[in-house]
């Protein structure tokens, strides 16, 4: 973002803390509120979107109105249903309703609203955030896919894969990168040299080609969880090297900084220097880098699943939901198959905005 963010008023934040058991927590909450107020709208919207998506992942059975594998065989490729607001006189009956769809042309899969009959939307009903009276008469908020499964429910469940892959992947490549990077910087000499040469090799891989070749290892019969971890492992294996290199460079440069020298002069042990002085300095950068590298994982998983090499049906991920759009005919006749792609784009954009803002906050000197 172009505008420099306002620095937080730490003095004021400090003044309002009162001594007590939860004062640290309150201080943290206060700092978070101040941070929120200082953030531009793009960042606030990004954070809100990410929270919603993670809520999708955490509470999918409640948020999804239907079972993601439930097939409504008479409603394949059904368009999103229009919501109607009931007139106030009928509010005792329900607030929102939709008309059920019936197939008008089975060959072209064209649907028509059946105006004679209403499907009422019920909130907090049968353990779902919103759903319909009977599970046999569905309301498709975002339409259905070619097997008649509710697209919105599948997107909600797909968030589990798509939103978690970034976190797990970053966690793995992060821990590998920090450990190996710090180790390499600490050892120096031949070990350092060898590790860094290896990192360079990994960094000059044609990563997507390599990803494709490695993804062939994943057997199609494997469970979704196993496949998920295989994909994460492959991507983390490709991406930890860049991390390690930068961490090593930072650790090496911080090691000779005056404040570390001061610590050393005061007799701090090597471990203490590393844990108290070096790692916290690197951590801010690492957090920014993590947030900016999550989109890579999301996109990597979606690309693989899109090509049929990642998460397999009937499990849902945003990538394999989008694979229906591989056929241009589908996009033309059932444009709602593109909706999962919009979710992917929003998630990626939100992480980009967040990471960029974090970089500005932590390093106001750079205008990037």
């Amino acid at each position: 973002m172009s505008a420099l963010p306002k620095p937080i008023d730490h003095a004021r934040a400090g003044l309002e803390t009162s001594p007590g058991a939860n004062s640290r927590l309150r201080k943290l909450g206060h700092a978070a509120r101040e941070e929120w107020k200082g953030a531009p709208y793009t960042v606030r919207i990004s954070v809100a979107c990410l929270l919603v998506f993670y809520l999708f992942a955490a509470a999918s059975p409640t948020i999804a109105p239907y079972d993601p594998t439930q097939q409504y065989r008479n409603l394949p490729d059904c368009p999103p249903m229009r919501l109607h607001l009931a007139p106030p006189s009928e509010w005792t009956h329900g607030l929102l309703y939709a008309y059920p769809m019936t197939m008008a042309d089975a060959m072209a899969r064209r649907f028509a609203e059946d105006r004679g009959h209403r499907i009422w939307i019920r909130f907090f009903h049968r353990g779902h955030l919103f759903t319909t009276d009977s599970p046999t008469e569905p309301y498709f908020m975002l339409g259905s896919e070619n097997l008649g499964r509710d697209l919105f429910s599948r997107i909600v469940y797909g968030a589990r894969v798509s939103m978690c892959i970034g976190l797990v992947g970053v966690f793995i490549s992060f821990s590998l990168g920090i450990t190996i990077g710090a180790f390499s910087g600490l050892m120096g000499g031949m070990t350092d040299n060898l590790i860094m040469r290896w990192c360079e090799i990994e960094m000059s891989l044609p990563s997507f080609y390599f990803l494709l070749a490695l993804a062939a290892v994943i057997p199609s019969g494997m469970s979704t969880v196993a496949t998920f971890f295989m994909i994460v492992a492959i991507m983390a294996f490709i991406s930890w090297a860049g991390f390690a290199r930068v961490i090593r460079g930072m650790a090496a440069s911080v090691r000779s900084a005056p404040f570390v020298d001061a610590g050393r002069a005061l007799g701090a042990s090597r471990t203490r220097l590393l844990v108290v002085h070096v790692i916290p300095t690197v951590l801010g950068f690492a957090a920014v880098n993590a947030s900016l590298s999550i989109p890579g994982y999301i996109l990597g998983e979606s690309s693989l699943s899109l090509l049929g090499l990642g998460i397999q049906e009937p499990a849902a991920s945003w990538g394999n939901l989008l694979s229906q759009a591989m056929d241009p005919q589908n996009i033309e006749h059932y444009p709602w198959v593109l909706i999962p792609g919009i979710f992917i784009s929003i998630a990626v954009m939100a992480f980009n905005f967040l990471g960029d803002y974090m970089r500005d906050r932590l390093d106001p000197g750079s205008l990037r």
Binding site: M1, S2, S204, Y209, F210, L212, L214, L322, P328, M349
Partner: protein
């Protein structure tokens, strides 16, 4: 220069060995092989299967297969694709042309657009135009290339101006030379735009931040103090220095470009290296996978090398001895 080149080429050797070996292991970890898929067909007798396995050496242990393959590659023989029954070299050469064309075209497109936009945006920092374009650059960076490719396909279907995917028209063989070129170009336009959008966005941001950083440096102040007109300061002093990382980016951006191209090729059914590799991975056509991975690596390494050489040519502060010692 010679020392630098020799060193770089020597580094490439273990790199390629490592990459091909890992890919080879990965392919062999998959249960079954190309021939065992054929064995499911009751019309093919077990004898034929055995014969094919022997022909392609699939009955040998892993290390033997890898070393055999390596030996052949050293003689510039990449083997025969099991699926296509064609020499892998010919197959890859034919497809790589499309991928290289697509990557280069989208690179030219994104540079031609990103540099001027970056300059405009940096000169008018914090203006409405800056904020607007910065937002769009975020949008361009965030929308995945495959999603854009879907939209482009939809656009092609809807407008009818561009062909809906593919490499050339069905009547390609019957066309005369110029129409053939025009047909190819026509099929490349949409993929180029799709692949280039993300490039425009990120390069524009890089250009902007570069100019803003250099604008505040001492030599620019000196140039202004000398009374040089603002135009000269911008184009002769700021811009020349701001372009440096672009030269490096040109080489190292190739990896992203190749990866992005692979996806766009697949979605838009453009017969390139990525689509070829995907098919080969799916059918466990080991010689073809190995050839494609090796080809992608070579493209990437040569691109990086060229970028470093170009950097020496552009930046007088960098010479081969500093590059070689890195």
């Amino acid at each position: 220069m010679a020392r630098f080149l020799i060193k770089r080429i020597l580094i490439m050797i273990p790199l390629m060995l490592g990459i091909t070996f890992i890919s080879f292991i990965a392919m062999s970890l998959v249960p079954g092989n190309f021939v065992s898929n054929l064995a499911l067909d009751p019309h093919i007798s077990p004898q034929v299967i055995k014969q094919m396995e022997a022909e392609f050496g699939l009955d040998q242990p892993l290390m033997v297969r890898y070393l055999r393959w390596l030996w052949q590659v050293m003689h510039l023989n990449f083997g025969i694709s099991i699926a296509y029954r064609v020499n892998v070299t010919n197959l890859i050469a034919e497809r790589a042309v499309n991928t290289v064309l697509l990557s280069l075209a989208s690179m030219v497109f994104s540079w031609a657009l990103a540099i001027p936009i970056g300059i405009i945006v940096a000169v008018r920092q914090n203006s409405l135009i800056d904020r607007g374009l910065s937002f769009f650059s975020f949008l361009g960076m965030s929308v995945p290339a495959f999603f854009l490719a879907f939209l482009a396909m939809d656009f092609a279907l809807w407008s009818g101006v561009f062909p809906v995917g593919g490499t050339f028209s069905p009547d390609y063989a019957a066309l005369d030379a110029w129409s053939k070129v025009a047909d190819r170009v026509n099929h490349l336009i949409l993929p180029t735009l799709v692949l280039g959008v993300a490039g425009v966005a990120s390069l524009m941001r890089l250009m902007r931040s570069q100019i803003l950083e250099i604008k505040n440096s001492e030599f620019v102040r000196t140039a202004r103090a000398k009374g040089l007109p603002e135009r000269t300061v911008l184009y002769k002093h700021v811009l020349r220095n701001a372009l440096n990382p672009f030269v490096t980016m040109a080489g190292y951006g190739l990896a992203d470009l190749l990866g992005g191209a692979a996806l766009v090729e697949t979605v838009m059914n453009l017969q390139g290296l990525g689509l070829l590799l995907l098919g080969a991975v799916r059918s466990l056509d080991v010689p073809l996978v190995m050839g494609s991975v090796l080809m992608g690596t070579i493209l990437l390494l040569v691109g990086n090398l060229l970028a470093d050489i170009a950097l020496v040519a552009v930046d007088p502060r960098v010479d081969f001895s500093t590059l070689a010692s890195q």
